[in-house]
């Protein structure tokens, strides 16, 4: 089996401006945030981002890297809306394709099966069809019925984050929900997996059953070991969402000066500097709470 492990820097070189990138996870859960941060450092732009969006969308939009957003929703879970997303929408700053969540999954399934569309009832009669004028309905060849022909959401690159992986790209999730990460992987020409820990293949089953092996190396092109690489989103059971930091992110995102400071403090350095700054954020916060 080939060794597909790579550095964050080498990963960034594989993504080009103008590409369509799918980002796994769900809202503010198990997002490949270290990969997203690396894309920010690398300076790729004009991206089409396809995602059940969380702060991945907010960070990329705030940095002006997104040309088009294709999403089922964008939410931080414990905070209903990402303020960067809200602001870019209200300024008309990005092209969008908003789908019903089930339609979005149908689009991924179509792409993963190399079909140009799949039929679904979801969306019929709703303004999802108005907001996406390229979507059409299709008559059933078997019954007097009509369905939405949901277009395949084919991706150039998929990015996902998992709890464990081996060097060949077999990826394991240990939390309660796989989300749609394997579908993202199969819907893409190339897939990059970041992981809390790279382990030997014979050690994969030490942490969870065979059913937790979510993505096969068949669909993986690169594996990047990034401890706490989903931060500040959750990566259960390794860690929960960093709610204090997420609240800090959201409040900074609502104010231009505060956002400049946030960017300088947390995003202008490398990944190690990010985690160092987050650790300092928590030390200062605890200090403030003790001093109260």
């Amino acid at each position: 089996m080939g060794d597909k492990s790579m550095s964050l820097e080498d990963f960034a070189g594989t993504v080009e401006s103008g590409m369509t990138i799918g980002i796994g996870g769900w809202g503010s859960r198990r997002k490949p945030m270290a990969l997203v941060r690396q894309l920010l450092r690398a300076g790729v732009r004009d991206l089409t981002v396809v995602t059940f969006g969380g702060p991945d969308v907010g960070l990329l939009c705030a940095a002006g890297r997104v040309r088009k957003l294709v999403y089922g929703f964008v939410s931080l879970d414990s905070i209903a809306l990402d303020p960067h997303f809200r602001s870019v929408r209200e300024q008309g700053g990005v092209e969008t394709a908003e789908y019903d969540e089930g339609m979005f999954v149908t689009g991924l399934r179509a792409a993963a099966s190399r079909l140009s569309f799949l039929p679904t009832r979801a969306g019929l009669g709703s303004d999802v069809l108005t907001m996406n004028p390229d979507l059409v309905t299709i008559a059933s060849p078997y019954a007097d019925e009509e369905y939405v022909a949901m277009k395949a959401l084919r991706l150039d690159v998929a990015l996902v984050h998992v709890n464990r992986a081996d060097r060949a790209g077999n990826a394991q999730y240990l939390g309660p929900d796989p989300y749609f990460d394997d579908l993202f992987a199969m819907a893409a020409d190339r897939c990059y997996v970041s992981t809390e820990r790279i382990v030997a293949p014979e050690d994969l089953l030490a942490a969870g059953p065979a059913q937790s092996l979510l993505i096969s190396r068949l669909f993986v092109n690169g594996v990047i070991e990034t401890p706490r690489g989903a931060h500040f989103t959750s990566c259960d059971p390794d860690y929960g969402r960093d709610e204090a930091f997420q609240a800090h992110y959201a409040s900074a995102a609502r104010d231009a000066d505060a956002w400049r400071l946030f960017r300088k403090t947390f995003l202008d350095g490398d990944e190690q500097a990010y985690h160092q700054a987050v650790a300092e954020f928590h030390v200062n916060r605890e200090g403030q709470e003790e001093g109260r």
């Binding site: 969540e101 089930g102 969306g123 019929l124 019925e145």
Partner: protein, 254 residues
């Protein structure tokens, strides 16, 4: 027994939405719908299937607002991908919120203004189009105002009766009730909202004044009060922390 609050009247009305639903998944968004589904499960609809809002079916639900990790008895695994399969299969009944709703039950939670450049971005269409295309959908409105009950919604997320009747393929479309802090609404044969009952202490004029389109509430009977068993379950079992009072003010007495 202490005075019955408006929130408790709403909880019982929400529970009634699942009466006779059978063995289906109860999907809820908001505190009162969650209380209603649990109350229904403990009273009239013992076969109802509940989730923890995360990835599990719960035969004994964890405390309100908590996940399986914080208590309860897991009876199944239901990650998001399986939810969409269940929606498509129809074994589900949903009670969602509405930022806007019109006289035919078209519902909007996506945004206010033009979708290309909204004046206010809201939560997005989420699963509303799929819900209304596939199974019964009810709505819960915590604050009944003319801003919510509008002539025309800005984005049709949940599909209303007028559109459903004009759209081939929506054969599973099924709007049930709209429960608000003032009244229980349902739909007449013409597909339009009508007042089924007014909560105790609410006048027809109050509903009329708080609705942005003509809605005749005169002659509507009073919404039923929860009985002693239901009150005990609401207060001691389902919502002992009183989360219901945050969504519907305690000041509003029945």
């Amino acid at each position: 027994m202490t005075e019955i609050t408006r929130a408790e009247v709403c909880a019982a009305a929400c529970a009634d939405a699942w009466r006779g639903a059978g063995e289906v998944l109860a999907h809820t968004a908001g505190v009162l719908p969650s209380i209603g589904a649990r109350l229904a499960r403990l009273t009239t609809s013992p076969d109802l299937v509940l989730t923890d809002g995360e990835a599990y079916f719960m035969s004994d639900p964890p405390p309100l607002g908590r996940t399986a990790a914080e208590g309860g008895v897991v009876e199944g695994w239901v990650p998001y991908r399986r939810v969409f399969d269940i929606v498509a299969g129809g074994r589900r009944q949903s009670m969602m919120g509405a930022s806007q709703i019109d006289r035919y039950g078209n519902q909007n939670i996506s945004l206010i203004g033009d979708w290309r450049r909204p004046t206010r971005q809201l939560i997005g269409v989420r699963g509303a189009p799929g819900n209304t295309a596939n199974h019964r959908t009810d709505y819960w409105v915590a604050r009944h105002t003319p801003k919510v009950f509008v002539e025309k919604v800005d984005v049709v997320c949940g599909v209303g009766n007028d559109r459903a009747r004009g759209t081939k393929g929506l054969r599973f479309h099924d709007l049930g009730v709209v429960i608000t802090n003032l009244a229980v609404l349902d739909y007449g044969d013409d597909g339009r909202l009508r007042v089924r009952s007014l909560h105790p202490g609410v006048t027809a004029d109050e509903v009329h004044a708080n609705t942005g389109f003509a809605l005749d509430a005169s002659g509507a009977p009073e919404t039923r009060l929860p009985d002693a068993t239901e009150l005990r379950l609401i207060r001691e079992v389902v919502d002992p922390r009183g989360l219901r009072d945050r969504e519907v003010s305690r000041g509003t007495r029945s």
